[in-house]
Symmetry: C2
Subunit: 385 residues, 2 copies
Amino acid sequence: MREVAIIGIGQTKVEENWEKSLREIAGDAALAALMDSGLAKTDAVYVGNMMSGSANHQQHLGAYIADWIGMRYAEAVHFEAACSSGAAAFRAAVMAVASGELESVLAVGVEKMTDSPGSEITAELATAADADWEAGQGLSFVALNALIMRRYMHEYGWKKEDFAPFAVNAHSNAMHNPFARFHEPTTVEEYMKASMVADPINLMDASAIGDGAAACVVIPLENIQKVAHRPVIIVAASTAATDTIAIDHRKEPLWLKAANKSGKEAYSQAGITPAEIDFFELHDAFSIMAVLSLEANGFAEKGKGPRLAHDGEILLNGKIPIATRGGLKARGHPVGATGMYQIVEAVQQLRGEAGGSQVINATYGMTQNIGGSGSNIITHIFQRK
Amino acid sequence: MREVAIIGIGQTKVEENWEKSLREIAGDAALAALMDSGLAKTDAVYVGNMMSGSANHQQHLGAYIADWIGMRYAEAVHFEAACSSGAAAFRAAVMAVASGELESVLAVGVEKMTDSPGSEITAELATAADADWEAGQGLSFVALNALIMRRYMHEYGWKKEDFAPFAVNAHSNAMHNPFARFHEPTTVEEYMKASMVADPINLMDASAIGDGAAACVVIPLENIQKVAHRPVIIVAASTAATDTIAIDHRKEPLWLKAANKSGKEAYSQAGITPAEIDFFELHDAFSIMAVLSLEANGFAEKGKGPRLAHDGEILLNGKIPIATRGGLKARGHPVGATGMYQIVEAVQQLRGEAGGSQVINATYGMTQNIGGSGSNIITHIFQRK
């Protein structure tokens, strides 16, 4: 297997973007990544997206986007793994280049959610859950997470305010990210006063949907001299694992077993321990998911995730900085694009291009994209060479 | 790159299957392929599907199916490339195994279309076309193909009856395939009397949708001694290419340029010429597509495709047998599964398991799956070792 490097990144601001179509948003990120890479085109375009078939009446995003960005005749395909669609496209790009089959791949994550009524988007998000055993019973995606959070609070004795530091950290970091949806800080007081969505999840526990796209260009490391004009960022590990799609089929609903498996395999592939990870772009779709991710990946013991936040260890200068560019909470969560945003942000950190939310001297960064309620996990570790 | 072999296949009958859910149909094909392979599980499950998000209110088919077939915790993801979704999943499986990242992949194509009203399915199929420039103007997918067929007849002087041999051949071969939707022969007279769908495409030019799933297990050839209990079938070539998604953006709407590119690359990868291909499972979603595929892949000159059929060269004992198990026309076209059915059928032929529609002494078989109106092409060549 050939080693794989990222040589270009691009992204659009997460927002309600009524001025641009799906392909324009995807194209803006894709062309920015190509420009950044120095390549005019790549052998293939891999697109991560969850819901364009229903939300935008457009499937077939591979050919759709390849054509739009002037890469007609390139190989192109669309990957869907609910909220982990972005990382799924990236992982496939890594394997295609590692295999020797392709010399370069442009991976794009995109989602355009604000053209549809909120009720439709809520129904479409619920297609990430089990249609028969969850969505069909009337459970929305936020309701599923509310059940998990309530159980977690009951099981381990945490109170609502113990989750506030996740929102405070995310919003604080997003202020330095021009591509983030929100640029306003928040406080514990504001967190506690936020409107309830599905008790105990309030607006400040929940990530904001939005329109956005992010993109990366990958090539074999052995070709890096020919093109790179930036610090070289290696894909040190790429792993994936699934769990049951319905939460009630799990023995331990508060333990992200697939995340644990994928994380362990990633550490082993990269040959490092969690202590060597300098920052962690985790999947904070809801603050409870941030907690469970920290625990599953070896940064906190079971039931102790909120302690890490309380002690300031998730801040930029803490033991394990998270959501360094705002995370899903404050950068925003255009679902099929999110995994790619995480990767783009990790590259920014490792290149030293993260401005006011830079993690100092970062060598290893980890991203973990979660589809469904912990049912699809894709983990990457990146290394600055 | 490691060479890749297919060691297991499975499929369900294409039909209106109201008794089984999406996951049951996919599971039946997947478990049959595993059983055939002798493996209890694989490292990953790759699922090809086009429209489950809208037609079945279920996305996230990777985790959904992995869980259902007892492969919880395996890697799993869903691929979409309109009608070429099945082959897209298979190609990714080949690359994942070739790269050395995975030791085995189960690739499954599935579509469940008959639970939804026909008008909805027609709208969902149109999401394979361009939402802004085609579907948004009221063009259904069959209407697009009707425009192409009408233009072809005008340009090259063929008459309606010249397309009859494609339906006659497909139905004749399907009679020997227990998994085919139709088991009735047809004639030129019946073809000419069939109801018009979108002039000049009538019911006998158009493939039938349906519910169905097909699956394959791939492993590295180097591991074949450990498991294989069947003739060894190698993936001799795997290529993909795209074209514009909207047909009117092409200089030559009657020339499948991406198919030509993908086909040429496949011949070169396999180190053979079209003359060495013993049968061709092409994408006869409409009879005009069969014609254009034969021309784009070097089996007939431009404008001469119907001649090949007229001369009997597409029959089982002809120069280039097509639709040997019924093709999309008579086996049926559950869109996201079709590409996988083609591959399963090619393996049957190369193993000598095609019964009454066996191509004698076949060494090389080619499959070509088309997404949209020639906008996504995935070609494979298989070889009996």
